[in-house]
């Protein structure tokens, strides 16, 4: 019976109930959306870093001068690359060098990255051990040649053979696009623009002198990573270390996760403000409704509804609206 009264009363106040459900929907969608967004960013970066480093068995890099894991590491001497290649068990050596490099479109305007970095990087070519793969054309060799990521090329309209101007820390240089690259099977680098150069050219244009950021190594199949690492350590200069590829990926993920958590918490704070405001609105609207219905509720009590029936009527109504709102909010989180 009370179910009938509840149904009728909900239908009679359909518009108001829809707005309450909407408020709940928005609050829930915002909260859920914040969690989902932060999680998907984290997953994207995790897979990005593991893909980038999946073939890296060892990395040689300088020791951090401070305990701050986000501090910039000193570069390592470029000559180290050849010495490392000579060590038994080392199959391949790939120098790592990444600096700022802003692409300019044919009109001379900077290519927008919407907050993602604009990267210039050393790349040894499609056989290299970094996750960078050649999509079209060939790998760049020598001054004046570059390969840019295909996602950016498609977006801006660059094709192989086109000239391109790139802004570095110390000025603008002109190149010819000889190849298009991607990350693994993807055409892009998560929104970043990437221009690659052969290692010697990269040192020159990226103004790195005779140094690299680090040197990645791939070992022969079946080689004992620990033994090779010991051999490498014997020849490393002071303040240089050798670490595993997994550790590098892990450190990169951890750094990004720190940032993503911060970003996620910021979003969440706004989400909670939304939820908080919704809660107040809902509480108010419900309070007003109950006041409006006081006479109806009093009548029900007078003609024989007990306290339990009246209470359950209101609670069922509130529950139905909030469950509807929550379910809608959860299913719409992706669009929020």
């Amino acid at each position: 019976m009370i179910g009938l009264v509840t149904r009728r009363s909900m239908r009679a106040r359909l518009g108001r109930n829809i707005f309450i459900a909407l408020a709940i929907t928005l609050g829930v969608a915002f909260v859920a959306g914040s969690f989902v967004l932060a999680d998907s960013i984290r997953t994207t970066f995790d897979s990005l870093f593991s893909e980038l480093n999946q073939d890296v068995d060892l990395e040689v890099r300088s020791v951090l001068a401070t305990d701050n894991a986000q501090a910039q590491r000193d570069p390592v001497p470029a000559s180290l690359a050849d010495e490392l290649a000579a060590i038994p068990g080392v199959a391949e050596v790939e120098p790592v060098l990444q600096r700022f490099a802003q692409l300019l479109d044919p009109d001379g305007e900077p290519v927008s990255t919407q907050g993602a970095p604009a990267i210039g990087a050393a790349w040894t070519g499609p056989t290299g051990i970094s996750g960078v793969t050649l999509k079209e054309g060939r790998n760049p060799e020598g001054l004046g040649e570059t390969a840019i990521d295909r996602a950016t090329a498609d977006r801006v309209g660059f094709e192989i053979g086109d000239p391109i101007d790139i802004v570095f820390d110390d000025g603008v240089r002109s190149f010819e696009i000889v190849g298009l690259v991607g990350l693994g099977s993807a055409d892009g680098f998560g929104g970043a623009t990437v221009a690659t150069f052969d290692p010697a050219t990269a040192r020159e244009v990226l103004n790195a002198g005779d140094t690299y950021d680090a040197i990645d190594l791939r070992l022969d199949d079946g080689a004992d990573a620990a033994a090779v690492a010991r051999d490498i350590e014997a020849l490393l200069p002071d303040r240089t270390e050798v670490v595993t590829g997994e550790q590098v990926a892990q450190e990169a993920s951890d750094q990004i996760n720190q940032f993503v958590s911060l970003f996620g918490n910021g979003l969440l704070a706004f989400a909670f403000v939304t939820a908080f405001v919704s809660a107040f609105i809902i509480n108010n609207v419900f309070g007003i409704t109950i006041t409006q219905r006081l006479r109806e509720l009093a009548l029900l009590r007078a003609i024989g509804a007990n306290t339990k029936q009246v209470r359950s009527m209101i609670i069922v109504e509130a529950l139905l609206i909030s469950i509807t709102g929550t379910v809608l909010g959860l299913s719409h989180r992706s669009t929020s």
């Binding site: 029900l300 003609i303 024989g304 007990n306």
Partner: protein, 251 residues
Amino acid sequence: MADTPTGTPTVAAAAGAVDARKTYGSGDAVVHALDGVTVTFELGRFTAIMGPSGSGKSTLLHCLAGLDELTSGSVFIGDTDLASLDDRRLTELRRERVGFVFQSFNLVPTLTADENIRLPLLLGGRDGDPVWIDTVIDTVGLRNRLTHRPSELSGGQQQRVAVARALASQPTIIFADEPTGNLDSTTGAEILTFMRRAVDDFGQTIVMVTHDPTAASYADRIVFLADGHIVDEMTEPTPDAVIDRMKRLGS
């Protein structure tokens, strides 16, 4: 003081009050809404309670119906002392043994006339006596209005639904609080006729609060209340006699 103490109500009483007192406020601001009311309402009779505003007639009705609590004294429905009941059993008593007709806002606006009539029965999980309910519906002439919502009914039709609802559960007693207060005289007379028929044809007991002498004249007996006391009584009233009596009480 015309009080006639009767002690514990006899078996023939549908309801009654013994030395009922109700006070509001305290100290200098204390108001005695009921100041020692003892009265009995016999089974199968139509009684009207009259009195000027503030005489305590509505308070008496609410206390008799278990909608309000006395400060001291006791009220009975049948032979049940309402003070002995907890909230749950008081609710049951209201649902099964008492019917209500109020001045306004008698019906749940979202339910149809038919649902409103059956509401007290349904709240108690009962279906009631279908033959009796049919009789009631035909008596108040609502057969073709059963599926309408209160907002689609006239004021008179709404009160007829309320009377039908009060009759549907065959209660021991029906309390009516100014049932014609919001109606024009023709429609009011219609409602009063229905109530009169419920008493004459079905043996229903009705207690009605009113300040309208014409309405009161439909009753078998009138109890006059002033300042929380019963000050007079009249049986077989006519409107003119009631008006005369009211004038004397007012002077």
